[in-house]
């Protein structure tokens, strides 16, 4: 057991010295302020819903999906049936399927255990940073090290912030507008993905659809926004014969 732990420690140290890991971690650091602010807000919201500190920490570490946790809180507080909370989680998490689709070419060669571990670490921030750095698969580059560097920074900052929020609770007033820093972080990440006119149109279509469908329950407006943009993409590619190989 001890030798196994020592082996793991040595392996972790070796990975953390790889240049791609360091590059990923370095790229993740500027986003920390947004992640930390949003984590604090999420933590305060969790403990204010009345679930108690141990359960709030348990859920945060295990689920590691801020938007799903926030969506679940009012349902849990209202005593909704378990399946309703799970349905809401599914709706909010559907966007991650798009992320996993895009990650596949970079990670398909890894063992399945590692792919599942990477899936757990997936988030909006490290996805946007990863795709900004690697619009295409680069043969010979250790993409997994870059991902891990960025993901470990995000995970550490997020968990530290959300647990601080849970423990500090109502000591952090809402009027500070901390949540807005998280929104600004996502806005900046959105900008990094605007690589061509068609991505601009997709973003505008998704934004308008998500606002128009805001009244839908369970944050389904996000799914509607994605569906509208994907439909736009399909139609746009079909409307331009001979240009179906256009890069986003």
């Amino acid at each position: 057991m001890i030798s196994r732990l020592a082996g793991l420690r040595a392996e972790a140290l070796a990975i953390s010295r790889r240049p791609a890991f360091r590059e990923g971690a370095r790229d993740g650091v500027p986003m920390a302020i947004g992640i930390a602010a949003w984590g604090l807000v999420a933590g305060v919201a969790m403990v204010k819903s009345g679930m108690g500190i141990p359960l709030a920490v348990f859920m945060s570490v295990l689920v590691y999906a801020g938007s799903a946790q926030i969506a679940a809180l009012p349902l849990i507080a209202a005593g909704a049936p378990m399946w309703v909370v799970w349905a809401a989680t599914l709706c909010v998490s559907l966007r991650f399927m798009a992320f996993s689709f895009h990650y596949r070419p970079y990670f398909a060669h890894l063992p399945r255990k590692q792919r599942i571990a990477f899936s757990f670490l997936m988030g909006d921030t490290n996805f946007a940073l990863f795709i900004r750095r690697f619009p295409q698969f680069e043969p010979g580059y250790r993409h997994e090290d870059y991902f891990l560097g960025c993901a470990v920074v995000s995970f550490g900052v997020w968990q530290a912030a959300i647990i601080t929020g849970i423990v500090a609770g109502s000591g952090i007033p809402e009027s500070w507008g901390l949540g807005f820093a998280g929104t600004m972080a996502l806005l900046a990440l959105t900008c990094t993905q605007l690589r061509s006119p068609s991505t601009w149109v997709a973003a505008v279509v998704a934004a308008c659809a998500a606002v128009a469908a805001y009244a839908l329950p369970m944050k389904l407006n996000i799914v509607v926004g994605i569906a509208a943009a994907v439909a736009f993409g399909v139609l746009a590619d079909h409307a331009r014969p001979g240009r179906s190989k256009a890069k986003p």
Binding site: A72, F120, F127, M184, A206, Y214, V230, F232
Partner: protein, 109 residues
């Protein structure tokens, strides 16, 4: 909900989000997918980000903002301008949040 129910709810939530995130990474072979969908899915990530951000900026209590004197909108515009100028993620967050806070506490919007 009782603590025990919250415990099991959390377990289920963890499993559901993990399955969504792992969906295309779990199988060893590529999932068969029509080409048109493959093309369309290229827009899904940018759409997901835009769809999460936009309502946060323009919705108040479930309604579209009906005044231009909203600190969030000017904060977002300042952030966008900063990104266009410097391409800095950190600067965009600080600039956007700073302008929003200045308007909220300085001007009272």
């Amino acid at each position: 909900m009782s603590p025990l129910e919250i415990f099991f709810t959390s377990l289920g939530m963890a499993l559901i989000t993990l399955l969504c995130r792992a969906f295309f990474l779990l199988p060893d072979q590529d999932l068969p997918m029509p080409k048109w969908l493959r093309e369309g899915l290229r827009y899904a990530p940018i759409a997901a980000l835009a769809a999460v951000v936009a309502p946060e900026l323009v919705m108040t209590q479930g309604h579209l903002v009906d005044t231009w004197r909203d600190a969030r909108i000017f904060g977002a515009l300042a952030g966008l301008a900063f990104y266009a100028w410097k391409r800095s993620l950190f600067g965009t967050i600080v600039c956007g949040t700073g302008v929003m806070l200045a308007l909220r506490f300085g001007v009272g919007w």
